[in-house]
Symmetry: C3
Subunit: 653 residues, 3 copies
């Protein structure tokens, strides 16, 4: 039996001290076990340089611990205080237009600034020394939401210096760099590393390899910044988990690399805000799910982030009601605050922590709901959280186990797609999510695999490799030995590590498809799809014309007679971006070949199997009858008729 | 009998001096009585520092006066000349991205710059001394169109210094400021006023109280800049009116505050330009009224600005034909130039002054029509203005008197809505205008009331308080004593003066609705309305869920069963943003309770009652028969069949 | 018999030297005769200041020449290398927001920088001396694509200095400038030329004459920059053609002025990229022609650029497959790569040169197709180019000869329309292209005429003068003497050279329409057209109301009774922007009066007559039968049934 817990985010510094004990008592009453505190409190922990004031935090931790709560302490480095910024103004991030960002909100620092890193090390060490062995402290959160507000990349002098050093280490000589970037192209050759500039404010595009190296450098800066935290914490706080809270659809740094330095990955899940904010969902879809969220988006991140730190993961911030930051901020439909937590647990979350205990009546997030209202009364989410707490107390939840299918995921591919969009709508996240949605609609459970670790995924029954820009060492060879069905493409293997087209053309598949070449690619207006000859759907946005394909290997053709899906043995290549119907059809065909049992779930119904349990979630606004969709078993929770926002758990017979 | 007059804007410096007398003669011929001159002529009045050249202006005033015209002299401070800018380049305004604005058009100065203020005082005093007692001079215009081109707010060093001083005076200590702004939230605490920065170029939002104080400061800078003018003029030009010409839908400074230093408020009315320019009107509506203007927009401003200076008001610039600055600039439909003037007089304008006498063939506004063309021939507006002049000569127009209903208006609420939009489409002006349109469709006459003066409005038969962010002293209490019907909300009373949510939750109504609380709010996509259970319309964009409401007080529910309109006695609360149908229904219901006689006017027909007169205006493109819409009386002007662009005036029997 | 040739763009510096000979051999095999090289190779030709390395270029030219190919050498000035930029960082262009553009792509220089001009002169002279008399060298290309990436206008200190000097020469005194610009308008008067600033970063619009002079200055800077090249080349490379490669729809500099210093104009034709990129074509049209291009756009540029250098012209870069830079980059429909070349030859191109020989696997344009793929195999365009080569070998193509109709074209008018849009959709190019499309649909052949040379065009059977802002000397008088039908307007003659409205109002036509005046103009929302009374179409976007027209001269009226088309004798005036139907109707009427035989071609079918030959092109996606559209003759190429992408050439009986 796996024990799961609810948590909450709490800011003792926002409230009168005489409220703390009552707050703690009511948290326990709701069924909350874990509390995160402290991550924005630098100005209270160190009101002036070197003048530490940790006593209030000590009292807060003691109070929470005394009430039986476990505490996660956040390092306050996402909010450097004014005295620090004024002492080193060049620590400020610089935006793409060359303007330094100002103090007055958060995340205003540049990851590359050595002086700021030293200050972070100092405050983190002081905190870790003071609270590292407190028995109420079970974990640490490093900083907060790296990359939020578009803050991963800084065009500062500190970043320029760091980038030049990074390039020097990577290439050793300017000539090697010039060759790798193709600088001969437009007389862009450099005579020394000191000549290199950042790739912003140019008349037209920089060399893609230039841009790509700056993206790699910027990601590495986040990784080493995080590691600086982790190393100090581990030195002074043995046995506690080091955690960071990722955001949704944040691709600007490599979460696998950051995750490698964490004990637990966590993420901040705001289903309604995310759906409303992102431009690549259609308006009618956004309206339909405005109060429940995209039925596949939370699960996508659960599965992705679970992969970034060896399987252990949390929700650090869970939307408890309307938020304040999306273009529109509706209230969740009744039941969704409960549903989202259950879905996270189904995917293996250890902790689901709501953000935040009480809505703050002041400052930037005053319109962001909490479990309680500013008048200290319960908000709607309060009661739903309490229901979840009661339910998980009695449920015997299983570990998610191995998925039916795996998707190879690769952050550098996201950067590459961004750098070389080729089509206005191009976006790696969207492509991968389209495949993920197809698998979910089939009722399959999905794992994500870091491309660099994907060799170990060759024994999945179904393995997808969509849009992987560059083959990591060994992966192609591993696919040749794969035991199950493998689907590669579109656009996979299209570049060398130096962001060039491979000499013999993509995708460089292993046998038996080694002869296949992408002879020509094209991007398409959204109103110009290429349907399949058999009517199963269409390519949209992107398609490829293939050479070197034997007629007998063509499993699907476009209406204009080109090979669309090619396969021999278990290895397949898809030569375009499938629309929803085609993704469903192709993935269904491969799942069948892989011997996987599949369903055809309606848009709002989703499920997740873990061990013997099948968890069902109704994102739609009408009831569904599970048995009509082939879902059967003994009900551990819920019933066959699943109302809107309903959750059911069935146990296999 | 109230005497009304036509005016015109004239630029003697643009024309050969030997045209002046003939121009003056023809102005009289048209029936014009008042001429505004001089407001952009600094480089001609002072070609180099200290070298004044006022003689030409003397001759111009003498010429106009000699022809029987009354003269309004504008101070030229909206266009500081190049020698002045070069002498103090830091007087330039700085935009939100930190870039100084350049010389070469107008309004390039920063309101906060002390050096520039001194220069303004100097030129204004010199002009006032010279012309202040000229018997042809009846009034002065201060500067020109404060805030036009987005020029109220400057992110300059001068503004930063002024803002810090302003904050110091307001808060006295940094700790008080930190508490008021909620700076603990993200370690935004300041140790001294000298540490505070302007709220631009941040990674994400500033604290709303920070932004709000900067909006207040920026408005105050306009007010004191204007008062500097007014004080000097009053010293040297006794008995003359001090006027400023406001723009349409300019909310960045508090017009009540500026108005307090004026004898007469005036505004510049460009019906076609405004309608085409603003994004929040639907395309089909914009097309339908492209040649006549929004039927409620002019009246809205007439009524609003009438309230800013104790009832006396003018149109300083009236659109005479196509303009040059909107995305599209159609010609007014025949008759509209006449109609607009009549409508202004119906709302109590003392003067309607056309902009401009003659279309300038050169410079920025050469595509802006005048009453005469560049070839000195009459433009279409010439003849319509002449018709108006003849008509007002014979009409016995009444003062507008007290309206049937009043709307509480509050500029700081507009800033607050802007700072904390919460929904992409949010806009205080739009909300208030939606209520105004509802009243107009009912045929009611409307007054606006400054929120700070609204206690005195408690005896209106119908009083609306929409979207008022913060209760001013005494208003809540006054509503409890109100004699008529009061409608509060949506979103009224939602913040404290420090831009925080009230401790006991909004809206803090007096008895008998003191228990009502806004428990939850949400913003809605434009395609996601919440209909009323009785089909009378819907909430869109914004809705609130209420607590503490007795079932018997619920006058209207949403389809999902929530209280939408609550009322007990005369006090009502509306828990969302009404669409046009709902606004009409709710206001109709309240008007009925208030004992007001109402109509149901078609979209293009509008009326204004003043004394015994009913003025009718047909903005639509088809004739309407007034009697079919319940409008009857003895025709002083026009007839029962009102053609497109038609004007009728009826006298009650 | 005119001999035409194919060419290709080749970058020996991108490939191993041992590939060069084989590449040259295969070029000959395809049928290519001309090769352009060298235009981006500065960093290889001069790796450090003064260290020239021309030997590799010598070997490349020798290799190509040895294979029988003719060589065009490009000057490398579009890509100044890093060492040069670092030596004079103020040579960088500055964008409209005041930010210097950075090194790292191309076209980062400012045309006004004297130091950079000296460096250009040095490298051009060194190259011209070395290769000027090489017998393989037949031509030179100056720089590359002036104006691409919005690089004509720079807001640098170098430009400011140059602009002030240019103004000083033009106006001689600040007073003259003040009068010309109308600076009295808003106290914008200058006391010296040193006070003048660039017209960017202003609160609102600059004086249009200020903006216009800066546009003129910026164009002149391109012209003198190009002349610097041409003069040096002619000194050292006698008998070779000096060529520049223009881009499509680039209006920021005067191509007639640059063309005056060229022997041959050329342009870079990317039909699919252009169509997808431009916002003013409707989505369904863009989708319909996404794989073939706008049927009139290529021909438009062929005819326009043919006029810029006395009739000799090339395609320097022809799209060979998908490109990389448009929002979407589809593959050309099979046959289009052939069709585009044939259409260019029909319009008189001497050379059609594909860009590029081989797709580069690295750097910015790696997704841009070539005739061969990165793996050295033929791409689809290879075979189509070979087909063209075989066909032109056997065809006896005629010179285009004189067109049926001429359109007066004027780059300064494009700047003026841009400066004074008056309607959001306004665009001179679009207006002229609408007239061009009307003529093409009638099956007419079109010449363009520089406005300054248009006196010589008075003997065309049909002459169009649309949107010409200012009459050049003599043109009005010439129109009075015109032999054929002349159509003037809309908006022609609307400004003086100082960008003012003429004192007696536009359009200042000669007799017999000298009394006609534009009394009033208006711009219209796209959803607000003004139909003609006879139903033949409508004005959209812009219309004029006329005075001084005799009733008998009105050939067409709007539904509201205004004169729309006026004519007496051969002189006509059109008082609005015609939609497609109206343009076709009006032009058809005038063509009939002119005695020209016309057709009514369907949207995708276009033709060009040259001598006795009629060239037909099917841009549509369905076959057309030529005889059904009145096209007959003896087939020299193709047949009566013209398939999609088909080309046919018929000889008159």
């Amino acid at each position: 039996m796996t024990k799961r817990a609810l948590g909450v985010c709490y800011y003792p510094e926002h409230w009168p001290e005489d409220w703390w004990a009552e707050d703690a008592r009511r948290m326990r009453e709701v069924g909350i076990a874990v509390v995160r505190i402290g991550e924005f409190a630098w100005s209270r922990l160190e009101p002036a340089r070197g003048r530490y004031d940790f006593d209030w935090l000590q009292r807060a931790i003691d109070t929470l611990h005394g009430a039986g709560l476990k505490v996660v302490v956040g390092t306050p480095t996402a909010t450097p205080p004014k005295w620090l910024v004024d002492a080193m103004p060049d620590m400020l991030q610089v935006d793409e237009k060359g303007r330094p960002r100002r103090f007055g909100s958060r995340r205003h620092y540049c990851f590359s600034h050595e002086g700021y890193r030293a200050e972070c090390a100092r405050i983190v060490e002081a905190l870790a020394k003071r609270f590292g062995e407190h028995e109420g402290v079970v974990a640490w959160q490093t900083d907060n939401e790296y990359g939020c507000h578009g803050t991963t990349i800084s065009y500062s002098q500190a970043a320029l210096k760091g980038f030049r050093d990074w390039l020097g280490r990577k290439y050793q000589s300017p000539d090697a760099l010039n060759r790798a970037w193709g600088n001969v192209f437009w007389s862009m050759e450099y005579g020394s590393f000191e000549e290199i500039e950042l790739p912003n404010l140019l008349p037209t595009d920089p060399a893609p390899a230039h841009a790509m190296d700056f993206r790699r450098y910027s990601s590495d800066a986040v990784v080493s910044f995080n590691r600086l935290h982790a190393d100090i914490i581990r030195r002074h706080s043995p046995g506690r988990d080091v955690i960071h809270n990722f955001m949704g659809r944040t691709l600007a740094f490599d979460h696998f690399d950051v995750g490698a330095d964490l004990d637990v990955s966590s993420w901040d899940s705001y289903p309604l805000g995310f759906l409303d904010q992102w431009a690549d969902r259609k308006a009618d879809f956004k309206a339909r799910f405005a109060r429940s969220g995209d039925p596949d988006l939370q699960a996508f991140h659960h599965d992705l982030y679970r992969a970034t730190s060896g399987g252990r993961w949390w929700i650090m911030e869970q939307q408890p009601g309307p938020v304040n930051w999306a273009p529109h901020n509706p209230a969740p439909r009744a039941g969704m605050v409960r549903l989202w937590a259950h879905e996270a647990f189904a995917h293996g979350a250890e902790v689901v922590s709501y953000f935040r205990w009480r809505q703050a009546p002041f400052a930037q997030e005053q319109m962001h709901a909490g479990l309680t209202r500013p008048d200290r009364e319960p908000a709607p989410g309060y009661h739903e959280a309490a229901a979840v707490a009661r339910e998980i107390e009695t449920l015997d939840l299983a570990e998610p186990g191995r998925g039916d299918a795996a998707i190879v995921f690769d952050y550098p591919s996201a950067w590459a797609w961004d750098i070389q969009r080729q089509g206005r709508e191009f976006d790696y996240f969207r492509l991968v999510h389209d495949f993920y949605r197809g698998l979910r609609r089939l009722g399959l459970s999905v794992d994500f695999v870091d491309a660099r670790q994907a060799v170990a995924a060759a024994d999945y029954k179904l393995l997808l490799v969509p849009g992987l820009f560059t083959w990591p060492p060994g992966l192609k060879e591993a696919l040749a030995e794969a035991k199950g069905q493998v689907l590669v493409g579109p656009r996979s293997g299209s570049k060398t590590p130096d962001f060039a087209i491979p000499a013999k053309l993509p995708p460089e598949l292993p046998e038996p498809l080694a002869a296949l070449k992408v002879a020509l690619v094209e991007t398409l207006r959204p109103d110009l799809a290429v349907p399949m000859a058999d009517g199963t759907g269409a390519f949209h946005l992107w398609r490829e014309m293939l050479d070197g394909v034997a007629d007998g290997d063509i499993l699907l053709r476009t209406v204009d007679g080109e090979a669309a899906l090619v396969g021999r043995g278990g290895l397949h290549y898809l030569a375009g971006w499938p629309d929803e119907a085609l993704a469903f059809a192709v993935l269904g065909k491969l799942a069948e070949r892989a011997g996987l049992a599949t369903l055809d779930l309606p848009e709002g119904l989703r499920l997740r199997r873990s061990g013997k349990l099948t968890h069902c979630f109704n994102y739609g606004d009408a009831p569904v009858r599970l048995s009509q969709h082939g879902i059967e078993g003994a009900f551990v929770l819920g019933a066959d008729e699943l109302p809107p926002s309903g959750v059911a758990i069935l146990e296999a017979g």
